[in-house]
Point group: none
Chain length 245, copies 2
């Protein structure tokens, strides 16, 4: 189990380069080293170096991705930070409660991504729907607005604590098939929705926001590779029947 | 018990005014309102306002003290943040372990001060010896150097969590649809397997024990009623197409 190898912190469309540097320093203090920036607004920038302080050595390892798909390559389990309540609620747990679960996923050899959204408006619905679970940082309900790098610091701190607590009695959960990559799950979801559309099951008195609900169902389950392959085969067979008709 | 009335955050000889603003914001996100500056190097300053963001309202309540004695007026219990080991060892506990003790002191109607030292060299020995206990933030032993405001954020977060746990205030998870009855899930699984058989997806090089795997997939997800109904509708639509053929 390894925080620095298996956990990738992803900052999406960060506006303020200083926040990137501060986040990097925050990460290093808690033993995290892998930072990915999706479409950053101001990078590279001197402000990153200034705020990174003695975490400067990590700057050259920062990964820059054009989009979230690229950033999630090789990732099995995606955590989105979000304080807002959504129309279609996702599993959303307070950090201190869900952190041991995340550590468990690390012990189970999953590669984890933790997504942090834009300074002003967080993650989009699409981004949130790529997540296996949402985590909120418990905070003052009148002003729960942590600075971006502060949020990174708190999340990394909580994981560091729980990782230390659990490193004595690690018992990884046995699973017989490797977990699916999140991008493969995404393609399954898209495929499923396509087939559902062809079957016209969306129209007949089906519930609101069914697309989001389907995404929620398939992302929160944590599918393994064999399940994804089987479901893809199932959908392909349905499609074939529809075409043969 | 009241975080905002009984806990005073004290920053000693802070050099960077931006850190004061950031600390104030960090405090407010965790429901702390009482900040005292001992002999600050750069206050008042515009940087405080800038970094305080929507915690600006607290700036006018900041107390400025000439020395620590003045700052500790009316305080019953003093906590010093320190990562260094001292020649004369003090009770020094990691934050997550000692935080419940601090909450207990708050419940016992004590007024608490939490001291944070200078950006470059922390608290002096004299200051540390004013403390009832020392607390360290668990961190990467190669680089345990949190930014000052980050340290304030983490300490306030941990106290906020333990205070909430203590008052059993943590809200339970919200979900918009009732969970499905297990028997309904079972019928969905049977239905799914029937359809898969009609589609003949079991035969063509499909993996071992696929029936068991499908059951495992659908049971571990924890489906809600709407998801079960949708999936049943989906399967019914597939069956209809197969019959129409």
């Amino acid at each position: 189990m390894s925080l620095n190898k298996q956990v990738k912190i992803i900052l999406i469309e960060t506006t303020n380069a200083g926040n990137i540097g501060s986040a990097l320093r925050a990460m290093k203090t808690m033993n995290f080293t892998s930072l990915c920036l999706v479409n950053p607004r101001d990078f590279p920038s001197e402000a990153v170096e200034t705020m990174a302080a003695n975490a400067k050595d990590l700057i050259e390892h920062i990964e820059v991705a054009k989009n979230l798909d690229e950033a999630l390559e090789d990732i099995n389990f995606v955590v989105g930070t979000s304080s807002r309540t959504r129309k279609v609620p996702w599993p959303n747990e307070p950090l201190h409660k869900i952190s041991p679960r995340i550590i468990k996923e690390i012990n189970n050899k999953k590669n984890i991504a933790i997504l942090f959204g834009r300074e002003d408006r967080g993650l989009t619905n699409d981004e949130l729907q790529r997540c296996n679970l949402h985590v909120n940082i418990p905070a003052n309900s009148d002003y729960p607005v942590l600075n971006l790098a502060m949020a990174v610091q708190v999340v990394c701190y909580q994981l560091f604590i729980d990782n230390s607590l659990n490193s004595q009695n690690i018992k990884s959960e046995y699973w017989d098939v490797p977990m699916a990559e999140t991008n493969h799950v995404q393609r399954l979801i898209n495929h499923f929705i396509e087939v559902a559309e062809q079957l016209e099951v969306f129209n007949k008195g089906n519930p609101r926001q069914i697309g989001a609900r389907i995404k929620r169902m398939f992302t929160r389950i944590g599918l393994d590779e064999m399940e994804v392959n089987f479901m893809r085969g199932f959908l392909a067979a349905v499609e074939k029947k529809l075409k043969d008709k």
